[in-house]
Point group: C2
Chain length 316, copies 2
């Protein structure tokens, strides 16, 4: 870089040639004829122009997507899709809306009429559902029960209904909590017609959208809703992340838990069978969980913000 290209006349000639080539799109042969040079000379001038920095090529996107970081993350973690939203925002609610919108765009871009869509419970998934404009008429399957949140009227059901309405396709939804007090109740609930009907479709799901939580206080709605016994038990088992109810350790292994028997939701195996699972995590604190989720191979798409993406790369 920044080597010399010679004297002023040389500089002007080089710049003219580079302009004709890069900006006017002429071929080197044409340029050679125009300037009375050999095409080799033209090629060398253009190389010199690039090497010397006289020609500067930059790739950027005047929008919310950090294309470079997105590509880097996608490449680094071998993802099918990675969308990194460039926002300095760190307010959870606002972040969720931004990411929801981006995820909605991504989904409407990658979904085809032959897809079957699965939605897990997560606030970011709800945000996406609300931002979704229109979709082909595809079936939408609810993947998990819902957690009721104090300050929020969203639920897994709402998201499924929203999306099904946007698509005009069949909605497989049910009303059930994410966790129940005992395994028996859970089994009973799974027998319930609506639940059973939805779970029967699980094997057909081709694309799913999930959230990611870190198994720590305030970093996972599932953690926050769990009893202290379960929190501890799972921590002891090495649980690092919950991917909409699927537990994985820091090194990306699915972890079998007692809690699973008391949950209404998709299993690790079922999730692994889904060709594309898009996660929408946010907050730098969750970086270890996201790393675990990516390592597990369960997640193949990521929609998140710059700060978290950088955290992933810095120590990933």
């Amino acid at each position: 870089m920044a080597e010399q290209v010679g004297g002023p006349a040389q500089v002007v000639l080089t710049a003219s040639v580079a302009r004709r080539y890069y900006l006017d799109g002429r071929s080197k042969v044409e340029i050679a004829e125009e300037f009375g040079l050999s095409r080799f000379k033209v090629a060398r001038l253009i190389d010199a122009a690039r090497d010397s920095g006289l020609v500067r090529i930059e790739i950027r996107h005047q929008g919310v997507i950090d294309v470079d970081l997105s590509a880097h993350v996608q490449d680094r973690f071998g993802l099918q899709h990675a969308i990194i939203i460039d926002t300095p925002d760190d307010h959870a609610e606002s972040l969720r809306q931004h990411l929801g919108r981006a995820a909605a765009e991504l989904l409407s871009e990658v979904i085809t009429p032959r897809d079957v869509l699965g939605l897990a419970w997560a606030r970011s998934v709800s945000a996406m559902a609300k931002a979704l404009p229109r979709l082909p008429g595809i079936p939408v399957i609810q993947l998990t029960g819902a957690l009721s949140l104090p300050n929020d009227d969203d639920s897994s059901v709402d998201a499924v209904r929203d999306v099904a309405r946007a698509s005009g396709g069949r909605a497989y939804l049910f009303y059930a909590p994410f966790t129940v007090p005992d395994a028996t109740t859970a089994r009973a609930l799974r027998q319930q017609p609506e639940v059973a009907r939805a779970f029967d479709q699980l094997g057909l799901v081709t694309k799913a959208v999930v959230g990611v939580g870190l198994w720590e206080c305030g970093q996972s709605t599932l953690y926050d809703a769990a009893e202290e016994r379960d929190r501890r038990a799972l921590r002891h088992l090495g649980v690092c992340a919950d991917i909409s109810g699927v537990f994985v350790s820091a090194d990306g292994e699915a972890v079998k838990t007692d809690l699973a028997e008391r949950m209404i939701g998709i299993t690790a195996e079922q999730m692994r069978a889904i060709p594309e699972v898009i996660a929408i995590p946010y907050g730098t604190a969750k970086a270890p969980a996201v790393r675990a989720a990516l390592r597990s191979g369960l997640v193949s798409g990521l929609v998140t913000h710059t700060a978290l993406a950088r955290a992933l790369l810095d120590n990933g």
Copy 2:
């Protein structure tokens, strides 16, 4: 420009491909293999990236030369060389120094050991001479007499001596004024051995450096030094510019004048015979004169500053 490239996934893919192509210098075939696309698809993505503005290519020079303007001027006026110095400066002395330095660089770039260099009298030529670092050992010919300026110790002779010293070549210099009171004196001076020896070389000159003046008060040292009678007479003859003593009209025709008989200097025909004549004008006021000089075809190289170059293009 600025068309869409599709959804976020598309944007990220396009950016990745464009990065590999433009920044990493991979071939489209390689990229196609890497991303599992056809090479045609890759080509279309790259085109889209350019059209949409995702890839921006700019050509600039982080230096004093405005390469774009230079190329434009060179093209517009069919010049062999055009160097436009980007400076907001409008102080004559400072401008002269900048242009002198640039002209010196240009000269040392284009001069070859087989050239014969001619120097006319002009303050900008002196400035160039002072800035000249080294040159092949070529003959240097003085083209005109000198005008003595009140606040300036430079003269045509000094410039010739400076350059000859820089080159180590033979200097054909003489001590004579640019204008004399009558034609007889002028003829007598031309008979003078030193003058005659220099003028004998005129036909051999292959490159020359000259100044340009506008035939108005304060815009030409020759005008300022002339008597009121001559000023008027030449204005009546339609003289617009003096190119180191060669007079041309606004439409670029050489103008024959009585004054010429009282001058010690190169004629229009002799100047036309020189393959490359580089002019170093400055000051926007001189735009009409420079335009005339360019139109005359006597000048084939230009070293000047942005303001004057823009003035030339705006109304040229």
